[in-house]
């Protein structure tokens, strides 16, 4: 009960604080540079000054937060990455050199690329197909709701759910894992799925695909609905069949949105962490960069230098995709 009161109190205080800030600073500004009741020249000069200052006043809290939580950490990460484990002595590029020679890092890079290839492709593809199919059936919205639901589950929560699906019990005992139950029902031998090197990557990817398909579906469904109906009808008159209409008329028209969805998921995949942490913690050759970084930074004694170096690598990988993604999204918005 007390917690609830605190939570509500914080929320109210936050909103009121924001309002007070915007109103208060604006009021102060008008007080310093009044434009009402002044002569023409002075009023217009003051108006110009307040107009130049006001946007920065309103932006200030956001800029402040951005600096503290984004720019400062980036700078510090780069700084840490060229220092030793405690962040005391400058070591130059040695953390990066170590990284290149480290087997686990290479494994992580390889696995990350696998994730990169598989997850965005499958999630976008399933999202697109489901969006197209559910638009035509009366229970489409129910199906969409169900498929969208995993989006609301945290990655760790999803990992726990899927742990039950991949669960393995010793041979002979009853299998409670869904996958093993099916395998056994068909007469196969139960497997400890997430311990199978290489393939376990794909079992982990399935979780993220399961989560992200809903996202892709919602965005692509909206894009599909934005396609002018007449272009589809014109194609029908031109004699195109369902496949041709979908692939030659509809998909090309939403190509920009597909690219945005694809890259958004790609960025998410590069940062994949929770699922791997919760499922395997990088064991059985399923390590990924983010989990490796976490390992070095906060576990096993905490080597800030190496952890930060890995973080910088992740950032460098994400940035070009991010830039492309933002450009694409901007282009999409201009197009409409």
């Amino acid at each position: 009960m007390q917690q609830l009161v605190f939570a509500v109190g914080t929320m109210v205080a936050g909103v009121l604080g924001c309002a007070a800030y915007f109103w208060g600073t604006s009021f102060l500004l008008d007080l310093i540079f009044p434009s009402k009741g002044r002569s023409g020249v002075e009023a217009s000069r003051n108006l110009r000054i307040t107009n130049a200052i006001r946007p920065w006043l309103f932006l200030a809290p956001a800029l402040f937060a951005l600096t503290i939580y984004l720019i400062y950490p980036v700078v510090m990460s780069v700084w840490f990455s060229v220092h030793d484990r405690a962040g005391e002595n400058f070591v130059g590029a040695s953390n990066y050199v170590w990284m290149l020679n480290d087997g686990e890092f290479r494994q992580s890079i390889f696995n990350n690329f696998l994730w990169l290839l598989v997850v965005p492709a499958l999630a976008t593809f399933f999202g697109l197909v489901i969006a197209a199919l559910t638009d035509r059936i009366w229970w489409g919205n129910i199906a969409k709701t169900l498929i969208f639901m995993p989006m609301a589950i945290s990655f760790v929560g999803a990992a726990v759910i899927w742990k039950f699906i991949y669960d393995y019990r010793a041979e002979g005992t009853e299998q409670i894992g869904l996958l093993n139950a099916i395998v056994v029902a068909f007469g196969g031998d139960p497997q400890a799925w997430i311990t199978l090197p290489f393939w376990n990557n794909f079992f982990l990817m399935a979780i993220l695909v399961w989560i992200q398909t809903g996202f892709a579906m919602v965005i692509l469904s909206a894009a599909l609905r934005g396609i002018p109906e007449e272009t589809v009808e014109a194609a029908v008159i031109d004699g195109a069949n369902g496949w041709q209409i979908f692939f030659k008329i509809m998909v090309p028209q939403i190509w920009g949105t597909i690219a945005v969805v694809w890259t958004t998921i790609t960025i998410l995949v590069l940062k994949v962490f929770d699922i791997v942490l919760a499922m395997t913690n990088g064991q059985w050759q399923s390590q990924v960069l983010a989990n490796l970084m976490f390992d070095w930074m906060f576990r096993g004694g905490g080597d800030f230098g190496r952890g930060a170096a890995i973080a910088v690598v992740i950032m460098v990988l994400v940035i070009p995709i991010m830039v492309w993604n933002i450009r694409n999204a901007a282009k999409e918005m201009k197009g409409h």
Binding site: P228, E230, T231, E233, A234, A235, V236, I237, D238, G239, A240, Q244, K248, I249, P252, Q253, W255
Partner: protein, 362 residues
């Protein structure tokens, strides 16, 4: 030879009937325009002909073949949409070639037909452009070109000029009229709510209202001899003036007493049984003339004068409730608000409709 035959065509969405049994014969090569107010079903009817809407009841024949269940691409039709419906990701060339590529025509044949169509429509310069790099008029020409490439038996236009500005509309209208002459064997069906388009383009106009055909006929016949009050009011701008009247004498000529007291004798024959019935007396604004003597049709007070130079529109109040009577007098008229003006009209240009709205002119 018939181009298109509709037999008792019906359309309903669930329990709602929108087209109530349309019968229509359209000859090959004819240019037929469907007009009617919004929601009258004209676009639905066109889409049924195209095959984009299912036919709930009745039969449709194109070139003698029943096409109710034939898919749109096999009906021998082509359609031009109001919004052009160009494929935005394809060049002008590809837009026109798409249908033929689907039909697996040879490259040479595709090229020949696309270039021929582009030539007719002066699009050759733009073949490599994307639709977004074209103006509205050019886009509509591409849409028409795409339809020409299909070499259709029936050409369908769904309000093709509605998205164009006034000047382009006139230019494109003339282009469509020219196209119609060039493709003399192709039947054209054109949906519009613009009666200028209907009057200028059509061989025959089909006036629709609430899913019924009100009248079918050549434009001037509809103008001169509207079959009912709806057509009379719909064709012509400003709309025909309608004055409530009572029939006081029948025979080869009919005399009616107009609301307001004046009696008028028309050259329209009526049966004796009609005597005493209420009717609607109609006269077009442009058929009214100002009168100076005692031989006038009615007299009224001018409420508004709209001087357009070529014509002067007079809005007369006090004769009919709610609506003013409008007179369209050629030239400039020295008439001012509040003046009383008397009007007369040529006897042959008067109309009389029974209480159900049907014209007494057989």
């Amino acid at each position: 030879m018939t181009g298109l035959t509709l037999k008792d065509i019906r359309k309903s969405y669930g329990a709602v009937d929108v087209i109530h049994g349309i019968n229509l014969d359209i000859k090959q090569g004819e240019f037929v325009v469907f007009v009617g107010p919004s929601g009258c079903g004209k676009s639905t009817l066109l889409r049924m002909i195209a095959g984009l809407e299912e036919i709930t009841g009745g039969d449709m024949f194109i070139d003698g073949e029943r096409v109710n269940d034939v898919p749109p691409s096999k009906r021998g039709i082509a359609m031009v949409f109001q919004s052009y419906a160009l494929y935005p990701h394809m060049t002008v060339y590809d837009n026109m070639a798409f249908g033929m590529r689907i039909a697996k025509e040879s490259k040479e044949e595709i090229d020949r037909r696309v270039r021929a169509a582009a030539d007719i429509l002066q699009l050759t310069k733009y073949l490599d452009r994307l639709p977004k790099a074209l103006s509205g008029g050019q886009r509509q020409r591409v849409a028409i070109g795409r339809a020409i490439c299909r070499d259709p038996k029936v050409f369908l236009f769904d309000e093709p000029l509605s998205n164009l500005d006034a000047a382009l509309r006139v230019a494109t209208r003339i282009e469509i009229a020219r196209l119609n002459e060039q493709m003399a064997d192709t039947t054209m069906i054109y949906v519009t709510h613009d009666q200028v388009e209907a009057m200028t383009l059509a061989d025959r106009i089909v006036v629709l209202s609430a899913g019924h055909i009100e009248q079918v006929g050549p434009p001037l016949e509809l103008y001169e001899r509207p079959a009912n009050l709806f057509v009379a009011r719909f064709i012509g701008s400003p709309a025909m003036n309608v004055i409530p009247a009572t029939i006081t004498a029948t025979g080869p000529q009919t005399t009616v007493k107009l609301a307001g007291g004046k009696s008028v004798t028309l050259d329209i024959a009526t049966n004796a049984s009609e005597n005493g019935k209420t009717a609607s007396f109609g006269v077009r604004p442009e058929d009214l003339q100002t009168a100076s003597g005692e031989d006038f049709l009615f007299e009224g007070t001018v409420a508004i004068v709209e001087a357009l130079g070529e014509v002067t529109l007079l809005y007369i109040e006090g004769l009919v409730e709610k609506e003013p009577i409008i007179a369209k007098i050629p030239g400039i008229l020295p008439v001012h608000r509040g003046e009383k003006v008397r009007f007369t009209a040529d006897k042959t240009k008067l109309h009389l409709f029974d209480d159900g709205g049907k014209s007494y002119r057989a």
